[in-house]
Assembly symmetry: D3
Homo-oligomer: 253 residues x 6
Amino acid sequence: MSRTDGREQNQLRAIEIITDYITHPEGSVLISVGNTKVICSATIEDRVPPFMRGGGKGWITAEYSMLPRATEKRTMRESTKGKVTGRTMEIQRLIGRALRSIVELDKIGEKTIWIDCDVIQADGGTRTASITGAFVAMVLAFQKLVEAKKIASLPVTDFLAATSVGVMKDGQALLDLNYIEDSTAQVDMNVIMTGGLDLVELQGTGEEATFTRKQLNELLDLSEEGILHVIEEQKKALGTLAQSIIDRGKGEN
Amino acid sequence: MSRTDGREQNQLRAIEIITDYITHPEGSVLISVGNTKVICSATIEDRVPPFMRGGGKGWITAEYSMLPRATEKRTMRESTKGKVTGRTMEIQRLIGRALRSIVELDKIGEKTIWIDCDVIQADGGTRTASITGAFVAMVLAFQKLVEAKKIASLPVTDFLAATSVGVMKDGQALLDLNYIEDSTAQVDMNVIMTGGLDLVELQGTGEEATFTRKQLNELLDLSEEGILHVIEEQKKALGTLAQSIIDRGKGEN
Amino acid sequence: MSRTDGREQNQLRAIEIITDYITHPEGSVLISVGNTKVICSATIEDRVPPFMRGGGKGWITAEYSMLPRATEKRTMRESTKGKVTGRTMEIQRLIGRALRSIVELDKIGEKTIWIDCDVIQADGGTRTASITGAFVAMVLAFQKLVEAKKIASLPVTDFLAATSVGVMKDGQALLDLNYIEDSTAQVDMNVIMTGGLDLVELQGTGEEATFTRKQLNELLDLSEEGILHVIEEQKKALGTLAQSIIDRGKGEN
Amino acid sequence: MSRTDGREQNQLRAIEIITDYITHPEGSVLISVGNTKVICSATIEDRVPPFMRGGGKGWITAEYSMLPRATEKRTMRESTKGKVTGRTMEIQRLIGRALRSIVELDKIGEKTIWIDCDVIQADGGTRTASITGAFVAMVLAFQKLVEAKKIASLPVTDFLAATSVGVMKDGQALLDLNYIEDSTAQVDMNVIMTGGLDLVELQGTGEEATFTRKQLNELLDLSEEGILHVIEEQKKALGTLAQSIIDRGKGEN
Amino acid sequence: MSRTDGREQNQLRAIEIITDYITHPEGSVLISVGNTKVICSATIEDRVPPFMRGGGKGWITAEYSMLPRATEKRTMRESTKGKVTGRTMEIQRLIGRALRSIVELDKIGEKTIWIDCDVIQADGGTRTASITGAFVAMVLAFQKLVEAKKIASLPVTDFLAATSVGVMKDGQALLDLNYIEDSTAQVDMNVIMTGGLDLVELQGTGEEATFTRKQLNELLDLSEEGILHVIEEQKKALGTLAQSIIDRGKGEN
Amino acid sequence: MSRTDGREQNQLRAIEIITDYITHPEGSVLISVGNTKVICSATIEDRVPPFMRGGGKGWITAEYSMLPRATEKRTMRESTKGKVTGRTMEIQRLIGRALRSIVELDKIGEKTIWIDCDVIQADGGTRTASITGAFVAMVLAFQKLVEAKKIASLPVTDFLAATSVGVMKDGQALLDLNYIEDSTAQVDMNVIMTGGLDLVELQGTGEEATFTRKQLNELLDLSEEGILHVIEEQKKALGTLAQSIIDRGKGEN
């Protein structure tokens, strides 16, 4: 079965990462993964949440939202509803947790890095695009701290990127699902990995279906292939900053 | 006193209106007024709010929001707070009311036009940029209805645009305040006018200050000058669609 | 066209201001403007909101509400809804801003003046009656501070009063709209002025209509006439306190 | 020990009930019990809550609120808090339940009577004053239904009034506690009775204290005495309407 | 008329109190009164609410909830609704107030005792079972403080227990109503008493009905009989701890 | 390194499943996994949520909560906070999704199965215990439908159970983490599988750490071993009902 947009089974959509997309944040990007577009920004705040005060370590937290017409049908604003949905909370917690896995929080002091991912156009994979873009925005923000001599070097141990994979009704495993594929897939998996292809987070779900360990391995193979390509795009976007992360990744893994 | 960005007292900032900026909405634009950038989209829903049902008329309503880092300092999300601020509500009501003044609601049937204005970068004048951009997005959405033969012609009686004016501490009246000017102005006024320079909404406020009728007239003169220029940009963005509005404006004023 | 209640086009409704209407607040009035009745009270609190602390200046903030049966049809309580409507927020912000324009906030130290306007009967013009009444309640509260020798003199630079004006479907401009007039007016304007007839706030709105600068001037002429009469009633209510404000107004304008 | 306001142990404060105090509601009163003042209004709505639909019976529900400066120290609005306090809910439920005990709900059809009690000045006993006033406002509203020939006669089986009693630290039982007495009483009891002195609701509370059955009886004796006086005031306020209730009370008890 | 479960008019349902039912709280019980089952726990926190700070006294506060399927028909969670109902608030306030009446708050220092009553199965009388169980859980928690030598002795002046009584349509007075009896009773009364049979709280309600003082006395006689039995069960559950409370009760009443 | 409670690396804690633990729900259990105890109940409602109406299929949804003192330190109630936390939402969504994967929703008609999981004591693994217990409660509820001849047979295609696994700081992989192990683990994974050991959901997370595919496989091996034991306990609890599920599982996998 051929894919709706003509891609190969193991082919990512086109990725574009525009850095410094908006002027106020310490770091920001507009990331496009096919028709999915997310503005990611990183803000540095000089304090940590109450539960971390006095510990000398930093913290990373994330917020995620979609413009009402990022979607085909208009979605009601969460501010109008007066509450954040479960889906949004899940994604926010995921982004923050993933970024914390590759940052040396004890090297930044009591600072909070706020990550904001605002989806302006959605076509599947908004959470994985958010993580991929947020990593770049965060590195740019850390570089500001380095330049201001507030920290000695980038406190990032490795690259971090995410992609989605899935199993379709005909049993075929696909890389980087778009919205139509995502809504008809039987198994849907989000994979977050480092530059060294270590796993950071794995969320596989059978929606009214199940999957075998053999299928799991097939999906992970596809993910590794995809994530290596995604990280190539992050490297392009980060330019010379990429090298110091590459060096770190080598030394530590 | 010269302006922080070197403009003349009666000079607008550069305006850019990119149409069809995002793919899902019936109409959308990215409007830039200097460093202020707003994504405006128009959604057509085939029903009206309960209080209007059965009346045979349409309705226009607006929602406004800012990304957390649209601002110099990060602003907490209203969805996180669990409520919409008074400032946001004021702006939302203003946008909807203004657009309703130049649309023939009885010609569109029981439809709601949802306007979403999402500020991605703020440097003063976000509400006036929102109105100017929303007008264009709305016309594009109406054109879709015309093309689908759901309505006979654009139900828009005239152009609609907005700008801000203000009086500085030294008494000088300025057109199109940027953020620094806005925060130090003694009098702040938002003016919404039609292509025929009729007033649609006038909101003048002395913040811990007052103003005279002479100053009011000076501000209105500046506004008229500015709004004519803003409408020129709307015409460019709308291309051939502009002509039918011009024709309507002529006939009816 | 004659008015529903037989008034002249430039005639206010009867105004009555009963001072010290309730016993607990530092200042309070019951103001009646025709059938519109509002209890206004002023409370002095010995601290300012967080964003003003340490600045040595005072603050004025207002809250506005209507009893459920102040209106012809019962209105649901905002406490029951669990949120304050946009209309209420707009009015609250307007009242606070207007009062701050004629008070020397740096002369009262870090105190907050809480203004509460509770409409017990509504027949149009509740926000303008609230401002007119709140001014008197606030002066009474300041006088308590003077008597307690906490401030040297009334920190009020001038009188402050408000009225509404509007343009009817037949083009006629009217002063002080009652509820029926207000709901059928094409243009609705709220005007807040000082005793010296300087403008403090001007909010003119065409509801599905527009207005010209000529009409604007006609409305402002009517407003000036009306506000002078409203201030006469404030003077009667304030008795001897009025003179010190008159003296201030003279000296500073 | 003599009372702070010089009353006898079994003496009520002065009661005044002004009928038709505001113009919009079907029935309304301003009730004063000493310095406690409450506006009570009754609204008739032509439907019942979902859980009662189709049963052919009516319903009575109540809402209670205090103006922020009804109290000595300003109380934050429940609309600002975004929720109704437990105390308010208790009082609302009490008022509704009490009124339902003396109304023939099956004679009014599927209508809801909304009772609104808004305290404009508080000096103890606001819930009992609310019930006493609400009864009169409700009867006035029912009379409107009789006059409009929507019901045949007043659907009220008896008078209903309330008062508070308490035991002070010295063991003395007092009738109709004012605020100072109420805040120092060891036992606080609210008693609601009919014209025939049947009990409708009895709420006795020892706050960090207990009471004996002997004290309970002493408090009930005081309450009976007080309630007979309160009902005299209701009769004066209701004028000729009182007689038909008296006749009902006679016939049915 | 015989009772649905065959009990005598003055017969309680079987009571079982399992102490230390869950491991984390300082004190906990599972209390069963017939088919009504409540987990009560007592938590000791080393601070008091803001309004009590600096007074040197302790505080007791309670929260009450029902599992969704504690009831015959599933009840929506209050966390899902986003607010606590009036019924819950009433019960919470009642439990806290009752417990405070028999505890020497000045002997525990600035500590808060949090009482949590979670109904896992409901068959009438959940609030009275909660109070009876909460008393035992609280004593167990205080004993922990005694053992840790944080207080010298149990700060409890007497036993505290609750029961419900009611008048049925046929005029019969019943002790300890189950759900079916409770929903058809004309008069419903909750009575809270000490070991010395002093009244702590009395809440009698005619739901669309009234009651006489003679009936009140009959209900109180039944309550006294019931509460003595309930306290016997508390004594069994508390074992040797019961004696020190008995001694206190003797000495002080 | 030996485990805090002396278990082997691949040893589950003791599991007990008490069926029909509370009387009102269609199905209920109390499940204990070591010191973790959860009441799971299943409610059958004769309608589906709006988004599913008319499709002829059923729906399964879950709610999860913890009693305040299920935890070592008291946790504030979500009803008191007025909102459900992100953690709760994640767990609720997970439970519902997992159960839907092994139920033939098209065989139960437009019914909703509400699953309530209320943790009364927590010691790690509350979400996996909830899923394991909820499966049993749901089967019991379906059996009620079979007995009432509303459905022909159990619409369950296989068993469903969950467990947690993790990697400790010393690199050791452990099965069924208790609270202390869970809070110090570097990698934490929840695994949900069917009786045929197909994967339903896999959520692996490195908290400030990463993991390799080799470690992933080690964790999955441990999970399979554990889940087979958990399902043995479900079979014991379900008694004769288990056989029909076993038969289904055989036929379909």
